[in-house]
Symmetry: C2
Subunit: 392 residues, 2 copies
Amino acid sequence: MTVYPFEKREFELRLTRTKSAMEKAGLDLLVICDPANMDYLTGYKGWSFYVPQCVLVHGEADIPVWIGRLMDAGAARLSTWLPDEAVVPYPDIYVQSRDRHPMDFVADQIKLRGWNAVRIGLEMDAYYFSGRAADSIRSALPDARFSDCDHLVNWVRNIKSEPEIGLMRQAGQLAKSAMQAAFDTIREGARQCDTVGEIYRAGISGVEEFGGEYTALCPMLPTGEGTATPHITWSDALFKRGEPTILELAGSRLGYHAPIARTLHLGPPPLKLADTAKIVIEGMHAALDAAVPGALAEEVEAEWRAVISRHGLEKESRIGYSIGLGYPPDWGEHTVSFRPGDKTVLRENMTFHCIPGMWLDDWGFEVSTAFQVTAGGAVPIYDFPEELHVRD
Amino acid sequence: MTVYPFEKREFELRLTRTKSAMEKAGLDLLVICDPANMDYLTGYKGWSFYVPQCVLVHGEADIPVWIGRLMDAGAARLSTWLPDEAVVPYPDIYVQSRDRHPMDFVADQIKLRGWNAVRIGLEMDAYYFSGRAADSIRSALPDARFSDCDHLVNWVRNIKSEPEIGLMRQAGQLAKSAMQAAFDTIREGARQCDTVGEIYRAGISGVEEFGGEYTALCPMLPTGEGTATPHITWSDALFKRGEPTILELAGSRLGYHAPIARTLHLGPPPLKLADTAKIVIEGMHAALDAAVPGALAEEVEAEWRAVISRHGLEKESRIGYSIGLGYPPDWGEHTVSFRPGDKTVLRENMTFHCIPGMWLDDWGFEVSTAFQVTAGGAVPIYDFPEELHVRD
């Protein structure tokens, strides 16, 4: 059980901003299934998102309604600011059943409250809102007008409060400590799994003042030819001399993430890898320099692109995204991306993970910076040497 | 990068069984988005399920098609048995975009192969197949006849091969070692996060012969009043004398899981907790004794229910489910449940997690057994003392 670090006032502000965005979007009711959004609005914590659950936000209701599995109602009562009557459990017969879906129960709750003929926003592309969930609720409420609320709450989450930034900085300490644990254990002949065991121990056990939580992605650890692709995890094979290892991991403090990526090479690196590393780091700093309030997200990427083009490199994928509160399987907020065409205007206290990885034919290089946009520009959330680390 | 422990022959058998189930279900094409099902059919590993990806299985095609993000195509080439031409990447412009969805790309690939006017089975309730994904593919292929394939591949996964059982037994060793790490560190005044750090280290670092992987759920560690609800995770608070702690965790060996739950009390436990523990363990063994080939899943639960009713206890939720290959956020296979109404006939080499937790008003007790159904009955996958553990 976590004691929530926010005042009730913080939740009230979040709700107010959500309602104002709902009004703009022409929505009366939101059905929020993204666990990060549920947590953001209510404080709800618990690894229960493997069954359908949601928070209902009605524009004219003072208090959201949590709906989840009976055995998880206790977690809602312990972790949220909601009064008991706003915690509505569904019975276990709805769980993984061929005959009924929890969204049928949610629809009944919506009808009970007289909200069945209103404009309802669904999180159509949230991880834990399946095709069947969407079909179930839409067919159970024929009088409603449904639309995709298009990450409405994710967008509300974009600008962080001071307490949120504080948690992200604590997460930065955890990330640094986890990365250090990796660097302390990677050597020729050591097992990858032993390094990852130490990464986890360091990130979770944390520091003297506070501990860490599970992160939304597991540590990534491509090594050797595996570095040509970013999302490979570890095995129990040995680290080999003459091979690079990419580490992408995060610290999480009460769900707030600080991700970090670094690359280490055992033995003298090939010249091309060393050169690429320098270009990528130069490009990343050009991007960071451009990340000032008022800049467009695509302009940040353009600065990166200008640097690497000058060196004859190309990169197809985006080089960063907004971060904050995150739940598995992703710590990205699914709103702003640093890529051509993203016209989002950067504002103070937005937070990003700039991660310009290059994956070439048989190896790759990654480095990253988690940062806060301030009046004075991008301020990193942690410091950890960025260069291609070389160990003999 | 993992070297896959199965012969190609194993994948061919899996594909044959899947196609035969497709024929019975009247389906020409499956769009498989569940990462465990993707792995089961192709060997694909990688934490890339946070973007849409799928495997296409056509009844008359010899080889499935992997479709995923460009940067993950390398992981598909490294980890699957598929030839390069069966690995089809989509460009990054499809990622988290308001204008286009990766399922539009998938639909184009289906058209390219002339499969657009066939009977298509979707995994309508899979975690990573969102409402928008379902709407996108359905509207892009107006000539297809869509239906919910209703966990078709999950059901094919029910009966394990010998190599799969071998991996689950290795996972059992990891689970045991992780549980032991917890028991070694829980004491009055110790921090919860330090215990969880050791759980992770033990489960991932593994044993001398092999290491572990990430588990589909994080360790659950409700403590004190938190034990009245099962899915609460840890904090950095201290363990207190006079309070129970429930541990639910797993070992994972190449994605194959062995989950285990145990309960520990610091100081003399209340009589009611000690009594409940005895009843629950007796009930669990009655259930295990009934888990023989030919029994119905609901009969297993009925034996449990008979024991606890005799002692005046009731439990609303199911007491177990099938397990095997698992990806976040759940290690259950979403097929068989031990609960009234589940008429699945148990067969040899099915594997289950029997977990009869009781969550009462202000505390709870959990114990569990992961087991294999054999001709001779249920054989546990690990051994670890079941009683309510008491530490002074």
